[in-house]
């Protein structure tokens, strides 16, 4: 039985109800895009396995769940959230806690950090920088392949906004801790916009934690505009429980001479799908996409990457790794597209996976689509186990089998972790991954609230 018509009906009802609900409160600028986005959603529907981008990911279990509500923030919710403290030691960051994707005190306006970078809610941004939001909002999304993206445009009411004006540099990373907390099973739709202007530098760390055991479905769309000569780095650490589904869609638009890097570290989550789109629109831009996931139980982690070389002399790399245990399944779907104009492209893509158990499953689909001739593009994908020879090497030096396996797996994962630009975080993730591999890290161990 196809579950999708029912879910579409439910979302349509939500959309209809929003007319009298949050839409009245929403800025006109956001409302303007809703009608078109809604019809795009209806046209595309909910992606199923016939959609190449979702071929190996089945959303049914999480989408067909009847979420009791669509989350809208209430002031007192945030008091709870503010108690949260990140446990990463020596992490020198500017920190902000979000609740279910919403900025606390969202309407109070944007905060300016030393150096001139603005952080705040999207709604506040519409008031403060209407022309800029107008210029960038809903411009970089792909509304043709995935119905969940226009669904977000149709339903989102708020989210994170960061604006780095020309030549602004904030020396510390900005850490956004996004907590999921609710008494009910909820459906969260946040919409984020990040604008990095010419010559500016922004280093972002986004941590996801689920605090309450309820079912969560998060459908996040993030648009990033990286102007000439600017530098943007984002690291996501995802640590949610097995009842939560997280779908992220990140669209990074790069202009000439810019640099961007995205790194998704997935430690836990019932279903996690990170879709990252990099569009290299200006010459000599550079972009990197990394991902690491460790999955067990019945978790499913999917990575979707598209790197679109639309200008000459750009470089890109992709490195995605996965370790799968128990009944976990993983999917990788990466594409390098080199348009005819994009001569002088260097693009590299790599996906490696280790299966630890009989029931684990990995599907991978690395793809190249190349229309220019002066290019160097390559990709590689492997699915296998730990190298017997390497194991033997370690064991012959007196390291026991378990420790040797751990060392190799840790080394395997470290390839991705070493690309994290923040040292304190790198060390912390190394520790988390080690704990995770040893089986010591249940979800609660890493959660600062320590509710049980």
């Amino acid at each position: 039985m196809d579950y999708r018509p029912e879910v579409i009906t439910r979302f349509s009802a939500l959309y209809a109800a929003s007319r009298d609900g949050f839409r009245k409160e929403s800025p006109e600028l956001l409302n303007r895009h809703r009608e078109g986005a809604y019809s795009d959603f209806i046209r595309l529907g909910i992606p199923d396995r016939k959609n190449e981008a979702y071929r190996y990911t089945n959303l049914e279990k999480y989408l067909s769940h009847d979420y009791q509500g669509y989350y809208l923030p209430v002031e007192e919710d945030f008091r709870e959230a503010e108690k949260f403290h990140c446990e990463v030691q020596d992490l020198d960051v500017w920190n902000m806690v979000l609740l279910n994707g919403f900025f606390p005190h969202g309407d109070k306006g944007l905060i300016m950090l030393p150096g001139g970078i603005w952080v705040g809610s999207l709604r506040a941004a519409v008031k403060q920088f209407p022309a800029m939001v107008e210029k960038h909002y809903n411009r970089y999304v792909d509304n043709e392949t995935d119905g969940l993206v226009p669904l977000n445009t149709a339903l989102a009411s708020d989210g994170l906004f960061i604006y780095a004006p020309r030549n602004t540099v904030y020396t510390k990373p900005i850490q956004i801790v996004n907590l999921l907390h609710s008494e009910k099973d909820i459906f969260v739709q946040d919409r984020n916009l990040i604008v990095v202007e010419e010559g500016a530098q922004l280093n972002l760390l986004v941590c996801d934690h689920a605090l309450s055991p309820q079912h969560f479905l998060t459908n996040t769309v993030t648009e990033v505009f990286v102007n000439r000569n600017a530098r943007f780095e984002i690291v996501r650490v995802q640590n949610q429980h097995n009842n939560s589904a997280k779908l992220t869609h990140t669209f990074i638009h790069q202009e000439r001479d810019s640099f961007a890097s995205s790194n998704n570290i997935t430690l836990h989550g019932g279903l996690v799908r990170n879709a990252t789109w990099h569009l290299l629109e200006g010459e000599n831009a550079e972009t990197h996409s990394f991902g690491l996931f460790l999955a067990d139980k019945h978790q499913h982690v999917a990575s979707f990457v598209k790197i679109d070389h639309a200008a000459p002399h750009c470089n890109s790399t992709q490195l995605f790794k996965g370790v799968l245990d128990d009944n976990a399944s993983g999917a990788f779907n990466g594409r390098i597209m080199v348009r005819q104009i994009a001569q002088g492209t260097n693009a590299y893509q790599s996906n490696n996976n280790i299966l630890l158990s009989e029931e684990a499953r990995m599907d991978t689909k690395p793809q190249l689509e190349i229309f220019a001739d002066d290019v160097k593009c390559s990709h590689g994908a492997t699915v296998g186990q730990l190298d017997e020879n390497a194991l033997f090497y370690l064991r012959s030096r007196g390291i026991d089998a378990r420790e040797a396996r751990l060392m190799l797996m840790f080394g395997f994962a470290h390839d991705v972790i070493q690309n994290i630009p923040i040292e304190a975080l790198r060390d912390r993730i190394d520790t988390l991954v080690m704990q995770r591999l040893r089986g010591e890290l249940s979800r609660c161990a890493s959660c600062a609230i320590q509710c049980n």
């Binding site: 190349i370 001739d373 990709h379």
Partner: protein, 482 residues
């Protein structure tokens, strides 16, 4: 030097199609169009038994419910199936017993194509089944092969002479519901080759089928069935050409291979259908379903293909590795020039334990050609110790062509090791410079590099074919380049 190289590439990529002539011969044709009556008529013209007619009708009825697949990375103009002639046969006396019975015009055609139908001239040569349009013209060396128990004949003869074998294996690898084109083929297939190698026999010569489309407006739908019984070995070759015409012609063939325990089948194709002219007008649509079943333990199926022709190629020779320790191989060179498009690759389905597969695919794109590799490596839960290695390289000659790689890897067993790697690049200026420095002209250098690039695959071809394939590569790409 850049310009110089471009100019050479231009010259190089303008080689002409040699086999574009038309044979003037009387043809027996069923009028264009497709309905149940046509299917019945084809069947009755071939004097087929009832079960085969039933099979055709079943396929035809299923086909009517199907839609043409759209997933390939190809731009195919709409095909009007009602305008296609589904059966055309060169008119000749039924079943020529010797060469003198064959229409001399036909013989001249195959002579011109360089296909030896005269056995005495080729002492150790190759046994050939020559298929013109819808029917088999002549099969050579039948008697010699029959002494060893090898059956090598046209499909229609096999239906008459070995109905039990045909009935047992027909559609056992490619069922009549498999895909749009295979189903169409199941309904209207006209002829093809049938081959059976008995237990423990090592076929002493290369078997070969040569396909020729001659009549205009026709589609060619042949069906090849190859059975290698326990511990046998056969090497099979397939070649094809067609006249130059402005309209597109459809070729939808099915090849089924069954390898029993310990058998080895080597299937090589040099595909040289008319690719259309420089503006992309005309040419053959080559939509072929090829699949081998490694049924028994320790069996092996190896596909080697050199794809230089066709306006559009849609072809995925596959191996189902059902027997334990069975081996599947796929070696391919695909060339797309001018406006040619190719979406080709393979499927390796690992079912048995310790099954191994190797995929080597070399794509060469020039002019406006679009070349895609699409492959699936699937390791099922029970396939302990499965091993796959895939390598897909693309070479781009010119800045208006495209090279694409779409591998699918599905692994459901933790002991499997699956590796895939692919590169895309053009001929390096440093490589050309290196050759120039040593007194090799740019033109020769490109030829040298392209040939070296494809060598890994061409080496897998039987000697007789390797020479032809190399020449073909030169014609398709290199023109005057040696």
């Amino acid at each position: 030097m850049e310009n110089d190289q471009d100019k050479v590439l231009d010259e190089v990529t303008s080689g002409e199609y040699k086999y574009g002539f038309v044979t003037d011969i009387e043809t027996d044709v069923i009028p264009a169009g497709l309905n149940e009556d046509v299917v019945r008529l084809i069947s009755s013209k071939k004097e087929e038994p009832e079960w085969l007619l039933e099979f055709r009708l079943k396929a035809f009825r299923h086909w009517q419910t199907m839609k043409m697949p759209q997933w390939a990375n190809l731009k195919i103009p709409e095909i009007h199936y009602q305008d296609i002639i589904f059966y055309a046969a060169p008119r000749q006396k039924i079943a020529p017993s010797s060469l003198s019975d064959v229409d001399p015009e036909l013989l001249r055609t195959f002579d011109k194509l360089g296909i030896p139908l005269e056995e005495q001239k080729h002492l150790t040569g190759v046994a050939v089944d020559a298929v013109m349009d819808s029917i088999s013209v002549k099969t050579t060396f039948r008697e010699t092969l029959a002494e060893m128990g090898i059956i090598f004949c046209s499909f229609s003869e096999a239906v008459k002479e070995h109905p039990t074998l045909v009935q047992k294996y027909l559609a056992s690898v490619v069922p009549h519901t498999d895909n749009f084109f295979a189903t169409l083929n199941s309904a209207v297939f006209s002829d093809g080759s049938f081959c059976y190698i008995p237990k423990g026999v090592r076929c002493p010569m290369e078997l070969s089928t040569y396909f020729r489309i001659n009549a205009s407006n026709t589609g060619q739908f042949e069906r090849t069935l190859l059975i290698a019984d326990e511990e046998s070995y056969v090497s099979y070759l397939e070649g094809c050409t067609a006249p130059m015409r402005d309209e597109n012609q459809l070729h939808a063939a099915v090849v089924e291979i069954v390898a029993e325990r310990g058998a080895e089948v080597k299937y090589s194709t040099v595909q040289n259908w008319y690719p259309g002219d420089k503006e992309g007008k005309g040419g053959i649509f080559n939509f072929v379903t090829k699949r081998g079943l490694c049924k028994g333990d320790d069996s092996k199926i190896s596909w080697t293909q050199v794809e230089t022709g066709s306006a559009v190629t849609w072809k995925y020779p596959s191996c189902i590795l059902r027997g334990d320790n069975s081996i599947g191989e796929f070696y391919s060179v695909a060339v797309t020039n001018n406006h040619q498009q190719a979406d080709t690759g393979t499927k390796m389905i690992h079912i048995g334990k310790n099954t191994r597969s190797t995929i080597v695919s070399k794509g060469i794109s020039a002019g406006f050609g679009q070349n895609s590799y699409r492959g699936l490596v699937k390791v099922l839960k029970k396939a302990q110790g499965a091993r796959n290695f895939s390598q897909c390289d693309s070479l781009l000659l010119g800045d208006k062509c495209g090279a694409h790689t779409f591998p699918y890897i599905e692994v459901d067993n933790p002991s499997a090791i699956v590796e895939h790697e692919a590169t895309t690049s053009r001929i390096g200026e440093d490589q050309i410079f290196y050759c120039n420095q040593r007194g090799i002209s740019t033109e020769d250098a490109i030829g040298l590099i392209v040939n070296g690039y494809a060598r890994e695959v061409i080496n897998k071809l039987p000697m007789e074919f390797a020479v032809e394939a190399q020449k073909l590569l030169q014609i398709s790409l290199e023109g005057s380049v040696g």
